[in-house]
Symmetry: C2
Subunit: 428 residues, 2 copies
């Protein structure tokens, strides 16, 4: 595609988005239902295209990645149920967030509106494409889709089926665009005039590349270096169980624990218990000398405390108290998810108020940091930024707002001169 044409296509998304955002909830929900039906009707075509991807990928990617790439009856049923769930969610568009009478009959309303055009870059999981389109359609956002290259045929098939279904609705498919090449990704990162938000998922290095190469706001996280601090007031069995779950339940997740900080007063009693449990799960312990004095382990380099292993490895060190744990976490962590294991309420309070992370937990697994587990209805991504949205982000992360002011000829001069006065009465 010629570059000039590509930019025009992106610009056109912005126009289509305004039509989409002013459509009624019923029109958007009906369109979601059309997609729900079309996926079932066209499943053989989708499975056949997915089969091409699977055959090309075989032997080149790990079994777990291959499993994510596969789109079968169970995945179809799950994304279709996901669409029904999204239809049921309350309409996020046009919600009245504030309403205030500035003066008699002069009313200001802050109303939710979609952000606009969103660039979504996601891993080689065909079900993600369906989920992202559904969330953007529900929330009135146009979307540029770029999936993992291993899923090229599957994504193209799903996109075609969805676009054809939408073209039979009043909305049409004009608010959707599928891009496939790295050059197109590089191009959209420059289009801050037309694109309002980029949500990149995938490897840390990729997310960092996106963050470093665009002026468009980015919602996401590069690293997930999560820590657990075990206080001297901890229930030790609970601590072991939570650490094992946080590491082992899905080690490749961004919310898996990477570092354990142990209060030095309990190291003699706690470390052997922890080692015993981690050994059973095949977890390799990298630790500093204060730990290796008590249990066998791999000597840790300083670098081990800045690492996101994403594997069955864990770094352990001792700390003097909760303050030293907080300082370690704020310095070495990635402001994602950190937990304290403690019975002492004061220690928990200090940890909650001073750890500067999106998610701060006590006495439970770090793996709970997730939009579905949090009950957000759907997860758009996890953000480590403090701006706009932090932590697991639901549908509300795709929304902005406008200030609407309805007057009857009011002019500022009358208020500046003192002839009239604001009374600022909240109406909701």
């Amino acid at each position: 595609m010629e570059k000039g044409q590509f930019e025009k296509d992106i610009a056109r998304l912005k126009t289509s988005q305004l039509t989409l955002s002013s459509s009624s909830e019923k029109v958007r929900n009906d369109a979601l239902y059309k997609i729900y039906e079309a996926l079932e009707r066209n499943k053989d075509y989708i499975y056949a295209e997915n089969g091409k991807d699977l055959r090309s990928a075989e032997g080149k990617i790990s079994p777990s990645v291959l499993h994510r790439l596969k789109f079968d009856d169970s995945k179809l049923s799950s994304v279709r149920n996901g669409i029904l769930d999204i239809i049921k969610l309350p309409d996020p568009v046009g919600r009245i967030l504030e309403k205030r009478e500035l003066d008699s009959g002069f009313v200001l309303t802050r109303k939710s509106f979609p952000i606009g055009v969103i660039g979504m870059i996601f891993e080689a999981r065909p079900d993600a494409l369906v989920q992202i389109v559904s969330l953007c359609l529900k929330s009135g956002n146009a979307v540029i889709l770029k999936g993992g290259k291993e899923a090229t045929c599957s994504n193209r098939a799903l996109f075609n089926v969805i676009a054809a279904a939408l073209d039979e609705t009043p909305l049409s498919s004009a608010f959707l665009m599928l891009i496939e090449s790295h050059e197109d990704v590089a191009s959209i990162l420059k289009m801050d005039k037309y694109i309002d938000l980029i949500i990149p998922r995938g490897s840390n290095s990729f997310v960092r590349y996106v963050m470093d190469n665009t002026r468009i706001p980015v919602l996401g996280h590069a690293d997930g270096i999560c820590s657990i601090y075990v206080d001297k007031s901890a229930n030790l069995d609970l601590a072991v169980s939570v650490i094992v779950d946080s590491k082992v339940q899905y080690p490749a997740a961004c919310n898996a624990v990477e570092t354990v900080l142990v209060n030095e007063e309990i190291r003699d009693s706690f470390l052997p218990l922890l080692k015993n449990a981690l050994d059973k799960e095949g977890v390799r312990i990298h630790a500093s000398e204060d730990v290796s004095a008590i249990i066998d382990c791999i000597p840790a380099m300083e670098d081990d405390f800045h690492r996101e292993y994403l594997s069955l490895d864990i770094a352990i060190r001792c700390v003097k108290d909760v303050m030293e744990a907080v300082e370690h976490i704020n310095t070495h962590g990635s402001h994602h998810t950190d937990a304290v294991i403690a019975e002492d309420e004061v220690v928990k309070d200090i940890f909650f108020s001073l750890v500067d992370s999106a998610d701060v937990f006590s006495n439970c697994s770090t793996r709970f940091a997730d939009g579905f587990r949090f009950g957000l209805g759907a997860e758009v991504g996890i953000s480590t930024s403090k701006i706009h949205a932090r932590g697991p982000v639901g549908l509300s992360g795709l929304m902005s707002y406008k200030w609407l002011l309805e007057g009857n000829g009011e002019i500022v001069r009358d208020y500046a001169s003192g002839e009239k006065e604001f009374h600022h009465k909240d109406l909701i």
Copy 2:
């Protein structure tokens, strides 16, 4: 100051901020009151230092800029009253925004926390320094202050007075930093590791320079190209009065109108009325041929419809209908503040839903786009971004949040295996 030291000082702000953010409302309000008292006690020193700035600036800056630079009894009284108002505002820190039981006794809370370290770059107005410090202190944010260079002595004096007052409180002044040079501004723009948000005020070119040279999120707006569309259903006298106020009441403001779009069906009746009123105020009309066929005016270049005049100049063109007005505004405007003058409710609805701007008004002056007039209690800035905060931004724009999850040993494995189930019960 050596570069390494400067970076260490900035890093230290981050640590101080965590202490500040965990302080009680009473401690922060008491500190605000100490500043309130200290300003009165040290007014002679402040006036004397301000006098130095005034003498250096005289003849070099316009009378209106000189007026803003002056810090006298009336300005002092106004900033001190501003502090009392800020003390009275509800505490923005630690507010419970969501609370949900994920499972029995397993409670998730979304709580407001300050954003962190904020870089505030503002115009040569000494009262702005006091206001910014007060807002940041109330909201628990550390702040790096950089004021306009014409106010160097005044800012230093105010900073010294405020810092000395704070050093007598438990908070100390460690969360404040004053910088003065352009080199320091360039340095802080690179410190995305320590600084969470930049709020630049000042000339368009300066704000654009900041936006183009940092990875730190920026809250602000470069241009304020505001438009008013006069529909054929408009009350013409009301339209004239609103346009005159929007242009003349303070032409240098970002929310002053720059472009008027007139429905072509009323051009014969409306344009002479408008010209007559604008002539009386000395406003120069730049217009396209469809307008100059009716009234005398300066021929407009295409560029006139992209310009923020900030002066007694206005661009006028005719449009076919509200849709053409919307398209003009979305293409040529700056997504700041735009208004429609119409009695027809359908036209107003179309304008409200399709104009992609932070503030969309009907039948009133664009000059109402302002945090105080909106009743936000205080204004931090006006944002044309759709991310985080849009339009006039109050204290809430300085806030982020954390997700706090309090457990009793819950692990994800039990929920993944189906042994336990989330019940997601909203508690507020």
